[in-house]
Assembly symmetry: C2
Homo-oligomer: 453 residues x 2
């Protein structure tokens, strides 16, 4: 890996006490690369390296690392130095960073900024973290409808050295109402004296500050836009959300979906707090669905207990319980996984629900009958009892088929009932299979008991 090699090089400079070269190397690295290096070195090394970065590069680095690391890196610095670095972060990331701090600390940082900037940051901090307002940036290009193409070029040139992304140029009126959008492409192909109001695209896809981040990200990806403008209730342009924001939102939502499907809640905590936050938070995120599973498994215990008499007469049947439950749970989870992911990516729609459930059922039958036959033959030979072999084999086939049916149906059912199909699908299916599978098995055993002993 490239980072290993970079880390060795940096450590080499430290050993040789070649501070000039170390400083030079660090300040010429891409902040995304430094962030990867920082994840792999000790806190002491991080503190040392961070001190060599220029304020601007330090700010870029802060934008790339986790909140925990941000706090660690800045915590080691004097207040003045920390404020200088933070002031160079982009407004949206600065707002995110300050959002995790106490009111007192926030004021400490904001008081050192120009009034105009601190007002902007305070406004950004009022939007919910997972809304368009919460993820938008306030750095973008904006021109008045009356200026010419030539004037727009001049304006773009003044911004060319800054850190603004040049995706689109937004056209507004005097009161900052969004009127349209200009692409650099249309700008380049138009006469210099043309007013931008005449060449802009007026029919612009926009989102509202309060729109959910998932909707915003999905729109960016669906239509292939590089950025979307964000407006308030009065159609005033407040910021833009860019394609890379969409990527991070997408990654976050996917992580939440994956966690949810094994019964890990991200409703109260951020998805990264579960990995790094307080231990009791992680316990609280994981325990609720385990408790529900506990309740469900007690039903399974009761089912088994109901057949106490059968168990007493033929204790050997107990040894096949893990086999039946394990394979049923497994193939059922496969069905759930396919349906949940398909619904999430759009490969499966509610309209095709029946088709997919039926397909799962057929797959369950094919695999179930094959595995049932296999288990029957093995058990028959092992225990030298063809009836026992048949009962276990038939139970296996029934179990696996029912599992694919349940696993195929439940995501659609949950979605129909307006629940998230991913939520706890894993634990739910495993438990349901345990209950139903056990019942099927014990009923079959009880019915054929006279041939078994």
């Amino acid at each position: 890996m490239i980072e290993e090699h970079i880390i060795e090089k940096l450590k080499g400079y430290v050993e040789l006490e070649n501070e000039a070269e170390l400083q030079n190397e660090l300040n010429n690295m891409h902040s995304a690369d430094i962030a990867e290096v920082f994840e792999q070195i000790t806190p002491d090394e991080r503190e040392k390296y961070f001190g060599y970065l220029d304020a601007e590069n330090a700010a870029y680095l802060l934008e790339e690392v986790s909140p925990q690391l941000q706090v660690e890196l800045l915590g080691n610095l004097e207040e003045e130095k920390a404020a200088e670095i933070v002031s160079k972060m982009s407004p949206d990331l600065m707002a995110d960073f300050l959002g995790d701090l106490s009111d007192e600390e926030v004021s400490g940082y904001l008081n050192k900024l120009p009034q105009r900037v601190s007002t902007q940051i305070r406004e950004l901090m009022t939007y919910p973290e997972d809304s368009a307002g919460g993820i938008m940036t306030t750095e973008f290009l904006r021109v008045n409808e009356n200026i010419t193409v030539e004037e727009t070029f001049a304006y773009v040139r003044t911004k060319a050295t800054s850190n603004i992304d040049f995706y689109y140029i937004y056209v507004v009126d005097k009161l900052n109402h969004l009127l349209g959008v200009l692409s650099l492409r249309s700008l380049i192909s138009s006469p210099l004296d043309m007013q931008v109001g005449n060449i802009m695209t007026a029919d612009v896809f926009k989102v509202h500050t309060s729109d959910d981040q998932e909707y915003v990200a999905d729109s960016i990806i669906k239509y292939g836009y590089l950025a979307l403008p964000v407006v308030d209730n009065y159609n005033r342009l407040k910021g833009i959300v860019t394609w890379d924001d969409a990527h991070y939102v997408n990654e976050e939502e996917t992580t939440e979906e994956i966690y949810a499907s094994s019964g890990i809640s991200t409703a109260i905590f951020d998805e990264d707090e579960i990995l790094t936050g307080k231990l009791m938070l992680a316990v609280r995120a994981r325990a609720p669905w385990l408790l529900i599973t506990l309740f469900g498994e007690f039903i399974a215990v009761n089912v088994a207990n109901h057949f106490d008499g059968t168990l007493r007469q033929l204790p050997v049947i107990a040894i096949f319980i893990p086999l039946l439950a394990g394979l049923g749970g497994n193939i059922g989870t496969q069905s759930v996984t396919l349906m949940v992911r398909g619904l999430s990516t759009g490969q499966i729609t509610m309209n095709s629900a029946l088709h997919h459930v039926f397909r799962e059922l057929r797959i369950g039958l094919i695999i179930g009958l094959t595995f049932g036959l296999l288990v029957m033959v093995v058990t028959w030979n092992w225990k030298n009892n063809i009836v026992l072999g048949s009962v276990v084999g038939i139970s296996m086939a029934a179990n696996m088929t029912i599992a694919t049916l349940l696993g195929g149906v439940s995501p659609f059912l949950l979605k129909k009932l307006k629940f998230d199909p991913a939520v706890a699908s894993g634990p739910f299916i495993a438990t349901a299979i345990d209950v139903i599978g056990l019942a099927v098995y014990f009923i079959l055993v009880t019915l054929s008991l006279k041939f078994l002993i």
Copy 2:
């Protein structure tokens, strides 16, 4: 949902036999929206609507729909008409489409294209589907190092009406060797008579045609580039991969990871073939890990069989097997899910493995002891037997703790051994827990048998 509303509107035109309005409406919709509509209507309606689209809009739509739908839509058309539409697709998507057809059909389409284009398509089709060459587009802006900024503007203007994305302009020498890259930003801020060779960024991050698509996508996202140039062995510029390609690659890789974690293989088949392809392909994608699970569960059966005597003396102990296996499997899966996803997003690195395993262990202890106590009290009261309650409770605590330890360790172990940590983590953990948990339980029961009966 917006699509419902659109579908009703379109159906209204059909009922009123208002063909002109239907045609107008369809040709003014975004192809991504039509694609969503097409997923929700019948094949007959699709055929009807598709016929109303201009060749260009039909081509855009084809780029948005699944391979199955592409074949369906084109299959209904005359050969001439189909070829006209396909010829308007972007080269990379055309190559993807043709890649799924027979040699004969491919020739049929390519023979109708200009020689220059068909040669390009044939070249694109030689790259593996999951390589940089397989996902790159050949439509991009390219200029010679010797031309001026003014000439570059003129060139960009000639391309302004075409469908090329204007991310960057690549600078090459006469033999098409990649020399550098120009952003529109630098172009706008430079004197008109400057040669582009003097203002380009020469230190350009590039990938090779044979590079894995995941590496390319990760690089785009990591560094926030809108596009990356793709070169061959001789540094000749062959194409570019754009940010939206990176998104689709990422989605595909995530889907494969999610499928793999429940034991669904995408090694032989594409991830969408499992949902829509031949039934026996889907069976073959799912059966191998189920077979391995079957083998694993037979070990569990053997463990239980080993304690045949204990079972015979106290058959009631069998009823708690699903409870123990279910909760152990569940919390173990949670641990695996967190580690696998963390490794995949980079939130967890191999360096922090010990920290995370230890954290999982502590969480397992906290939840395990709590649940163990709960189960002990319930069982004790239910069966009126404190020893039985204690044995089941202690087994539960041990089971859950071991499950988090196993679930925490195995992803790191797999990665260390150069396996994909996601592969079959679900089935593996559930089975391992069944085997070890059963052993712990039966040993405890056997040891305390004299106090139990």
